[in-house]
């Protein structure tokens, strides 16, 4: 099949958007039947959706940077705390406004990612073990700093821009463009995909896998910090915790990430795919919250769907094989019938 034909491209785009659209339609119908109002019934709903999508998208992309290369970075949540708490508070001290908070948080998040990356490539500790250790360290730092107050944006002047719909949209577009360039059109992206295929072959072919690894960690740190800023702007405050409480963010964003990778395979662009995954999951969450279900019930539904999706993805090759087998058997039976008819 010619991948450059318009029809193929259209098909790919349709496959990408069909899931978020389907989620929206299904919940629009259910919500209207149950509550009389749709999934998005006001500007405030749209604002909530945009905010939560960008937060989820950033986090899922951060996970995507490392997870598919065999590195489960459990310290992503703690890096978010570090970036937001230190970057945000420094920006507030110097009256740098909402943009200053965002930029400084991203910088400090990236530095935390750099630290984790450098330790990983030099110490060769297992990524998960390193992630746990760094989580504990980062959580202690973010907890001890600023009198355990974390980052408070509620009631602060000049941070309203972080809640502005237009600004959120602009940041989202900028992120998509930057990530698409990095992942699809840059040497970093090509090397990353090569390493994803086979680390040994990539290394043998001259790719510096250590540099690429560090860059992935830096990018992940920057992205989670960005997610944290918008989340804090929505919730008003980011309170640090101890005891690996920051890991919750890592696990809760895995569903959008895996879903996004699958969607991205249709358009051969994981960046757009993860966006589709984030939109789908957040529409699902919004739709469920409209039904006034308890929090636990919502979680059961969401994580059950995650489990079903993962079972499907893990066994999709078997299903494909079975389908192809059916097609072959059918073809063989038809051929046999035709030959029999010819003979008779």
């Amino acid at each position: 099949m010619n991948h450059k034909t318009v029809s193929y491209k259209l098909q790919s785009v349709l496959k990408l958007i069909i899931l978020p659209v389907a989620v929206y339609i299904i919940f629009e119908i259910i919500d209207r039947l149950v509550t009389g109002k749709g999934v998005i019934s006001s500007k405030a709903d749209l604002r909530v959706l945009f905010r939560t999508v960008i937060t989820c998208y950033c986090f899922a992309m951060a996970l995507n940077c490392n997870l598919l290369l065999g590195r489960m970075d459990l310290s992503a949540g703690a890096q978010m705390f570090m970036g937001c708490i230190f970057g945000g508070n420094i920006a507030l001290q110097f009256n740098l406004g909402g943009i200053g908070i965002l930029v400084l948080s991203i910088v400090i998040g990236a530095l935390c990612g750099l630290l984790v990356g450098v330790i990983f490539v030099n110490m060769r500790i297992l990524p998960m073990v390193l992630g746990i250790g760094m989580t504990l360290i980062f959580e202690c730092f973010s907890f001890g700093a600023y009198n355990q107050q974390g980052l408070m944006l509620y009631g602060k002047k000049n941070v309203e821009i972080l809640s502005n719909l237009t600004f959120i949209l602009l940041v989202a577009i900028l992120l998509i463009l930057v990530m698409t360039f990095l992942f699809q059109h840059s040497t970093f992206g090509y090397s990353r995909r090569a390493i994803q295929g086979s680390q040994k072959l990539a290394a043998d072919s001259g790719i510096n896998i250590f540099k690429n690894c560090i860059l992935c960690y830096v990018l992940a740190g920057a992205l989670v910090a960005c997610a944290g800023v918008f989340d804090t702007a929505y919730k008003g405050t980011l309170t640090p915790g101890l005891g690996m409480s920051s890991n919750g963010s890592v696990f809760s964003n895995m569903f959008p990430m895996f879903l996004g990778i699958w969607l991205g395979s249709f358009v051969r662009n994981p960046v757009i795919g993860v966006l589709g995954g984030a939109v789908s999951v957040k529409l699902l969450t919004l739709g469920l919250s409209k039904l006034a279900l308890g929090g636990s019930t919502q979680n059961i539904i969401i994580y059950s769907l995650f489990l079903i999706f993962m079972i499907y993805r893990t066994n999709s090759s078997k299903m494909e094989y079975l389908n192809k087998k059916k097609v072959r058997i059918k073809l063989a039976q038809e051929t046999r019938r035709e030959r029999h008819l010819q003979i008779t």
Binding site: K37, S41, S42, K43, A44, D45, R47, V48, T52, F143, N147, Q148, Q149, M152, Y154, G155, K156, S163, A233, Y234, K235, G236, T237, T239, P240, G241, L242, G243, S252, T285, L286, L288, S289, K290, A292, L293, G294, G295, S296, T297, Q298, N299
Partner: protein, 439 residues
């Protein structure tokens, strides 16, 4: 062979050293208990003719403070204990990290015992029945921050000599603050609708359930409502419900908290966005998390939403009163606040009286350990908040419960004191009284 012998010898050495340490510690603790008892007996036998003692006449008591949360209040309390009370009353405090579960609390108590602590103040009471026994084994006085209820009943009735009772918010009084506010601020016909976050009432949190019950009761009284279920049952629902009533006034109960329920904030936003609720009452401390949502709904629907919440005296509450919404009103209309020094001093007074031989002050007339109750204050305007924000500040010098108040509640200064008199001392600490004393 040599290696095996060496390994066996090392194992034996380790075993002996562990046993020896345990015996040594137990011995020390027993000594501490005996010293405490001797002090108590001496004080009791000397009776009315004893001379007034000062804190310096006693040894330096060590008091462990077990904290389950990492919030502003903990920081303020630490400063109050370490930098204000410790020097004057000749005590040392040992602070825990965030204690999340039974194991954490046990470890902390054991560490305190190793450090020679004489008492434990626990702000985590889920396992009080077990911890009081552990403290008794180590010879440490024990006091908890919880209203007397089923989950801690065994601590009260088990006959534990080391148990100095509890201290807690006067929950019915907290509820009455919300009741009073609703009576004064809700409309005559209830048409604005009421959204109540019951927070962790469904998990047994007394403050949250009392608050929710009080609000439902206030609405019932004001509008003459008949609910289809009892107020107690409604307050502890675990899923959001519209409270059915005979006058079809919109009352929505939304349980959970943002930190424990993913999607909680989205659910609150959804409820507010129906435009059906003009009064938002929060039994838990969630006004900072919901502030943005409330503001957006106010702008979208051009509707002023009145917010009343339980809150700590903190920068976030100060911000809330100094932040105006799109209608020019403060973003929180009423906050039910508690003074950190008030709560913390109650705990200190209880253990200090126990350690200085006045454990009778921790016992009610029925013979059971007593419960000290503190009243929260209703703050309804920025001026009150501005004044309050200068009190009970970490690093500051204006404590709502200062030495004058504490000395009135200590047996060493007031030998004829009673448990009821101590309660009166704390009942007299109000906003106006504190203002006259501190300003």
């Amino acid at each position: 062979m040599k290696k095996r012998i060496l390994a066996l010898a090392l194992i034996a050495a380790m075993g002996f050293s562990l046993v020896a340490c345990g015996k040594r510690n137990t011995g020390d603790n027993n000594t501490a208990v005996e010293t405490g008892k001797e002090t108590t007996e001496t004080e009791q036998t000397s009776g009315t003719d004893k001379q007034q003692k000062t804190p310096q006449d006693f040894k330096t008591f060590k008091i462990g403070v077990c904290e389950p949360q990492a919030i502003d209040e903990v920081v303020i309390r630490r400063d109050y204990y370490e930098n204000y009370l410790a020097k004057k009353y000749n005590v040392e405090f040992i602070f825990s990290e965030q204690v999340k579960d039974t194991d954490d609390e046990l470890s902390f108590i054991e560490n305190c015992a190793d450090l020679g602590a004489d008492a434990i103040i626990s702000y985590r009471s889920e396992d009080a029945n077990q911890m009081v026994q552990v403290c008794q084994e180590y010879g440490m006085a024990y006091v908890i921050n919880n209203q007397r209820s089923a989950i801690v009943e065994e601590a009260f009735t088990g006959g534990y000599e080391n148990f100095s009772g509890s201290f807690a918010a006067d929950q019915p009084y907290v509820g009455s603050l919300f009741k009073q506010w609703l009576t004064n601020n809700a409309s005559d016909d209830g048409s604005e609708g009421f959204l109540i976050t019951s927070s962790l009432a469904y998990k047994g949190n007394t403050q949250h359930s009392e608050c929710t019950e009080a609000v439902l009761s206030a609405l019932q009284e004001k509008y003459g409502l008949t609910y289809e279920d009892t107020i107690k049952n409604l307050a502890v629902v675990s899923a959001p419900i519209e409270v059915a009533n005979d006058k079809n006034i919109k009352i929505y109960i939304y349980p959970g908290v943002s930190s424990q329920n993913e999607g909680w904030l989205a659910g609150v936003s959804t409820a507010l966005q129906t435009g059906n609720y003009g009064v938002f009452i929060q039994s838990g401390q969630s006004f900072t998390e919901t502030a943005v949502v409330v503001d957006e709904v106010e702008k979208a629907f051009k509707k002023d939403i009145k917010v009343a919440s339980v809150a700590p005296i903190s920068n976030s509450l100060l911000n809330a009163f100094n932040t105006k919404d799109s209608f020019g009103n403060t973003s929180v209309n009423m906050a039910s606040v508690k003074s950190t020094s008030l709560v913390s001093s109650m705990a200190f007074v209880k253990v200090y009286n126990a350690l200085t031989g006045y454990s009778n002050l921790n016992v009610q007339s029925s013979g059971e350990p007593s419960e000290l109750l503190f009243k929260m204050w209703a703050i309804e305007n920025p001026e009150q908040m501005d004044t309050l924000s200068n009190w009970d500040v970490a690093g500051g010098n204006k404590w709502i419960v200062d030495y004058n108040v504490i000395d009135q509640a200590l047996g060493i200064y007031q030998p004829d004191l009673t448990y009821e008199a101590i309660q009166s001392v704390y009942d007299n600490v109000s906003y106006d009284e504190a203002k006259s004393r501190l300003e």
